[in-house]
């Protein structure tokens, strides 16, 4: 959906009006209260900070939504659950969305949670600093065969005029021993989650690490995004907007530095295994990925989506283009952003932008 099309402009105006009308003339609880199931991409951790905040802080409820937030996992697929009717909204990675679209799944993206992909490679600073792609040459690089990191690394090598013969791939598993032992030079991690834990461990052993961020080398591969079904958008766009407003408000509050104590308290309720100092560092790292300077929380980066599609097409992960722009609901996302911004955001934005590098 784009504002260039007059029909989209009108529908956006109607959505905005219906939302504000709902605020000014609240309807009886029975008419507006809706039960919703929201399937996350992964387990409850810092990467779902805003989702958990919106739930635990009562933001969903305040919007008349009774949301069951369900943890994800490797065997969970929010898009399939949307189609099967087990979930109303979900979080999926861009490659899942594009694969689903290439198989005619009626999925639409209503927000992009991470502006920078947290999937990066950690390496010891004893390794020469990787400043350009050619610096990857001759290194042993961990990848998960079939995973996003494999796709991203292949795209990086290709962008640097190299191929897999120039590096040594190492098949990555759950345990980090090969990296700790130095058998692997670069290890793929979610920078804001495992990245912090690994950095802490190595710091305790007197070592320091750096992170190799593909986005800084021109490869933008979109990560977690909020999705729903085409049916839901057509049937109840006002509900989609209401849900997204609540969710983005949760993310804004979870990412606001001056609200850190509350955010940490909520994440701790769900992620009981991560020590408090680690959690604080994880949240700070997540903030930079979700809300880097010059972006708004939930913003859909169309160019990054296009690049993600192009990468998948080049690597034959999809047979033909899916025209991803058609499945990005920019109108709803922008409306939700405007509504939430008016409430709480100006102060937080300034703060975060000052903090961002």
């Amino acid at each position: 959906m784009s504002f260039k099309h007059p029909r989209n402009l009108i529908s956006s105006a109607i959505l905005l009006f219906s939302f504000f009308a709902g605020l000014v003339f609240p309807m009886p609880a029975s008419a507006t209260d809706v039960k919703i199931t929201y399937r996350l991409k992964w387990l409850f951790n810092v990467s779902a900070a805003g989702d958990l905040y919106a739930d635990a802080d009562g933001i969903f409820e305040a919007h008349g939504l009774y949301v069951t937030v369900k943890a994800g996992g490797p065997e969970r697929d929010a898009i399939k659950e949307l189609e099967l009717g087990y979930a109303d909204f979900g979080v999926a990675s861009a490659d899942q969305v594009i694969r689903a679209l290439s198989k005619k799944s009626p999925v639409v993206v209503i927000a992009q949670l991470f502006q920078t992909n947290p999937l990066q490679w950690v390496y010891r600073d004893t390794l020469s600093n990787i400043q350009k792609l050619q610096d990857l040459k001759k290194h042993t690089i961990g990848i998960t065969y079939g995973g996003n990191d494999e796709t991203i690394m292949r795209a990086l090598l290709s962008a640097g005029g190299m191929d897999e013969r120039d590096v040594t791939y190492f098949s990555v598993r759950y345990d980090y021993t090969p990296f700790y032992k130095g058998r692997v030079d670069l290890w793929p991690v979610y920078r804001n989650a495992q990245g912090i834990i690994i950095a802490n461990k190595l710091k305790a052993a007197g070592e320091t690490v750096r992170f190799f961020d593909p986005a800084k080398h021109g490869v933008q591969f979109v990560a977690n995004s909020v999705v729903t079904s085409q049916r839901m958008i057509e049937k109840d766009p006002a509900l989609v907007l209401r849900f997204l407003c609540a969710l983005l408000k949760g993310w804004h509050l979870a990412m606001a530095p001056d609200n850190q104590e509350n955010a940490i308290g909520i994440i701790q309720k769900f992620d009981t295994d991560t020590p408090l100092p680690t959690l604080i560092r994880q949240l700070a790292s997540t903030r930079l990925l979700v809300h880097p300077a010059g972006t708004s929380i939930g913003e859909i980066d169309v160019n990054a989506w296009r690049q993600t599609e192009a990468i998948m097409l080049a690597q034959h992960l999809i047979p033909k283009p899916v025209e991803i722009e058609k499945s990005l609901e920019l109108g709803i996302q922008q409306n939700a952003h405007q509504i939430v911004s008016k409430n709480i955001l100006e102060k937080t934005n300034v703060y975060i932008e000052k903090e961002s590098p």
Partner: protein, 250 residues
């Protein structure tokens, strides 16, 4: 025997596919959730050679794991058949090990042994060994009184004879247990490959899952099923032949 195993497998597999396709077309699900028959056929052509090789790889590890398990189970059950303490200890160990999810134990195994052949073999043997041992202990510790009594009364009942009598009288049970353990060995190997190996059909299934490609998974299941059916049919046939041979010699 083999023929029956095969057509039974085909019935089950095709029934499963029919249910999936019925759900797909009834609920009008996309290719992403359940692939269409044509997509599955196209994928067969694409992955047939690779998956055949992968299944053979998995199968060879499973057979070695099963053989080791059978050898160990026979050894322990023969020497533990009279000692009630050994029997109860093995049972406690077996129930405990079976209760631990292999996904929790696997990372420890992979740290110790790496993610190659040995880890796959150990996990396959672990999953297959204990149920096999429990059954064998049960068979070997149960006296065949009406036969053994005669030899015992004449003072000719040595341990080798006792084991032979009990094995012969329970040959059908033993063959069934061994054929059944093939499934466990295969499942164990696939789980190991799924978690951490770099080869085998379990590894291919994991990649297909990452790519949300159900058609590849359906094909992998077909290859696993057909291989296992053939092997189980073969084991049952072997059990029959052994029984006939033994009965002929007796």
């Amino acid at each position: 025997m083999l023929y029956r195993r095969l057509y039974q497998f085909f019935i089950i597999y095709l029934l499963g596919l029919a249910i999936l396709f019925t759900i797909k077309y009834t609920l009008r699900l996309s290719e992403y959730v359940i692939p269409a028959p044509a997509t599955v056929l196209l994928t067969v052509a694409e992955v047939y050679a690779r998956y055949s090789k992968d299944v053979f790889d998995t199968f060879s590890v499973a057979i070695i794991g099963q053989l080791i398990s059978i050898g160990l189970a026979i050894f322990i059950s023969i020497f533990g058949r009279h000692a009630s303490w050994v029997g109860s200890f093995v049972k406690v160990a077996a129930y405990n090990v079976q209760a631990y999810p292999i996904v929790a134990l696997a990372p420890i195994i992979f740290i110790l042994l790496g993610d190659g052949f040995l880890s796959r073999l150990l996990i396959a043997a672990m999953i297959c060994y204990f149920p096999l041992l429990l059954s064998m202990l049960g068979i070997m510790s149960e006296p065949i009184t009406e036969v053994e009594h005669f030899y015992a009364a004449t003072g000719r009942l040595r341990w080798q004879l006792e084991v032979k009598i009990r094995a012969f009288e329970n040959l059908h049970k033993l063959a069934t247990v061994i054929a059944g353990s093939a499934t466990l060995a295969m499942a164990g190997t696939i789980v190991a490959e799924f978690i951490a190996a770099n080869a085998g059909i379990g590894y291919s299934i994991r990649i297909a899952l990452y790519q949300s490609d159900l058609s590849k998974i359906l094909i992998a299941l077909f290859f696993i099923g057909i291989t296992l059916s053939c092997y189980q049919g073969f084991l049952e046939w072997l059990g029959q032949q052994a029984g006939k041979l033994w009965a002929g010699n007796a």
